[in-house]
């Protein structure tokens, strides 16, 4: 994680990202990307994986970085695009799509917000040789927007809309991103959560529980949606 000086290690990765580069990543490293990345979230996943529509481009030949994002963008009169800021959307919602998506797309790097569960990493990411990079903040929309050199394509924008289209971006020093999962399936968030969880009981000490419990309520932190 952090070096003793408190400084985080900085890494630049070029797409398509190679396995040996991923092998060197450590939790908490700060990553900047160069090359090509594409966006894909629920509507793209549903269309390809549920409705059986072929991806609009040969993803395996293009890049292996899938960004869970929708940009703040608009279309100019000449058909080009103006991209202002980009930030990620929370990835845990896409858990059910990812096993098949990693297989179909060949993605090795997922960039998003908030990470997935350690279980997802072990069940899905590790067998696929994939890692998760989290955006920072959230969100550093202007910094990430600066990293986009050009919009190469906005597939399916006419029917999926700006927010759900599959955008293909040429990026340079795109970041900062933090290594949230490594090739062994460890999670930076869960490592931090385990430390935070140790102090929670102390906070509730002496506070009497509410007179009416809510449906589904639990005081067991292990029962939460994501750990």
């Amino acid at each position: 994680m952090a070096e003793p000086s408190g400084k985080l290690k900085e890494v630049r990765l070029t797409t398509p990202v190679r396995h040996e580069d991923l092998r060197r990543l450590e939790l908490g490293d700060v990553v900047y990307l160069d090359g090509l990345i594409y966006t894909g979230r629920e509507s793209v996943y549903k269309r390809v994986l549920q409705d059986g529509v072929a991806p609009p481009v040969d993803l395996k030949a293009l890049t292996n970085v899938n960004f869970h994002c929708s940009p703040a963008a608009s279309r100019n009169a000449d058909g080009t695009f103006n991209v202002g800021a980009v930030t990620a959307t929370a990835s845990f919602r896409f858990s059910k799509w990812l096993p098949k998506w990693l297989e179909v797309s060949g993605a090795k790097v997922i960039v998003g917000k908030g990470g997935m569960s350690e279980q997802d990493y072990r069940d899905t990411f590790v067998p696929a040789g994939a890692v998760y990079l989290t955006t920072v903040g959230y969100g550093t929309g202007a910094l990430l927007g600066r990293g986009i050199r050009r919009v190469r394509d906005a597939h399916w924008i006419d029917d999926l809309g700006i927010a759900q289209a599959m955008w293909v971006f040429e990026v340079e020093r795109f970041g900062p991103l933090l290594v949230e999962s490594d090739l062994d399936g460890n999670s930076l968030f869960e490592r931090n959560n385990r430390i935070v969880n140790q102090g929670l009981a102390r906070l509730y000490e002496g506070l009497k529980p509410p007179s009416l419990a809510r449906y589904g309520e639990t005081d067991d932190r292990r029962d939460e949606l994501i750990g």
């Binding site: 929708s70 608009s74 202002g84 800021a85 908030g114 920072v136 007179s211 009416l212 949606l225």
Partner: protein, 307 residues
């Protein structure tokens, strides 16, 4: 809307600068420094600080002496047009979709969007238009508490909410946390959101008892052990604001709202002569809005009376 989307308000900026200088968690401190750099980049490039436009909305305060040309219908027409134009021109992300069909008009305008809330002000001839872009998915919860639950119940629900949404930084903390206490269920939500979005960092409720609770809850939130993005640290709550409304005698409803690391708000005051003044403090909660009595007397009249 462009101003709100691009320029971080000074009160929030100073709050985060202070937190960045005291945060001891390496990762949390790194995140705060990255955000400070991000706000610089947004201003320099004139691009939005965050791509998630949230659910853009307006708060309109109309002076009692103000007259709107074309009436309230024209006012709402202008605000809807301005939303569509800013969405294209800034650009802002067209977030608003139909909840079932997921239809996106690509302009942040649709059925009941953007929301427009109103309040009024005595002895004034201006109209204040405040725009707020607050995230729309995480960091907010509501609960019906009861008088017997007391301040313990308030603290527990506050902790529940911050811990649940703070993990992995889903609340995009450090946040301005707004709390609605009382009212009916719907006004409880409205008050809490207004407390988060329409009061500036450092502001305290004029009721000393409530102000003391604001201080206490701010400290409690920062003692959870969680910082930015849920990493180990102490930067969770930039400030805590509580607004109250008279409620059912048997209940004490409470709502919690986190106004995120991209706290976007801007206010324009429109004067009758066409002048427009911009500021970042909405000055939403006036003595008139918090009035506790049947009758209201303007400050001038009441000071005359007490003299």
């Amino acid at each position: 809307m462009a101003k709100a989307g691009i320029e971080i308000p000074d009160d929030y900026l100073h709050g985060i600068q202070a937190m960045a200088s005291t945060e001891s968690g390496d990762l949390s401190a790194f995140v705060l420094r990255a955000m400070l750099e991000n706000w610089e980049a947004a201003k320099a490039d004139r691009r939005p600080m965050c791509a998630d436009t949230g659910v853009p909305r307006y708060y309109v305060k109309i002076g009692n002496e103000a007259r709107v040309e074309g009436g309230p219908i024209e006012l709402e027409r202008r605000l809807r047009r301005a939303t569509a134009r800013a969405t294209h021109d800034v650009p802002l992300r067209p977030n608003r979709v139909h909840p079932l069909s997921r239809r996106d008009n690509d302009n942040n305008v649709g059925i009941n969007a953007p929301e427009i809330e109103y309040s009024f002000e005595p002895d004034a001839d201006w109209i204040d238009v405040t725009t707020v872009h607050k995230g729309g998915l995480f960091g907010t919860d509501y609960r019906m508490l009861f008088p017997a639950d007391g301040v313990d119940g308030i603290k527990r629900f506050y902790l529940d909410t911050l811990i649940a949404f703070g993990k992995r930084g889903l609340a995009c903390q450090p946040a301005i946390v707004g709390i609605g206490l009382g009212g009916s269920k719907d006004t409880c939500m409205v008050l809490g959101k207004q407390a988060a979005c329409l009061r500036v960092v450092g502001d305290r409720n004029p009721d000393p008892e409530i102000a003391a609770l604001e201080d206490e809850l701010k400290a409690l939130g920062n003692s959870i052990g969680m910082g930015a993005m849920g990493f180990v640290g102490s930067s969770m709550v930039v400030d805590c604001h509580i607004e109250v409304g008279y409620t059912h005698t048997g209940g004490m409803p409470m709502s919690v709202h986190c106004f995120c690391l991209s706290s976007r708000r801007a206010t324009a005051r429109l004067h009758p002569d066409g002048r427009i003044e911009y500021r970042t403090d909405p000055e939403w909660f006036t003595p008139y809005l918090r009035r506790d009595t049947v009758e209201w007397q303007s400050p001038a009249a009441s000071s005359k009376k007490s003299a």
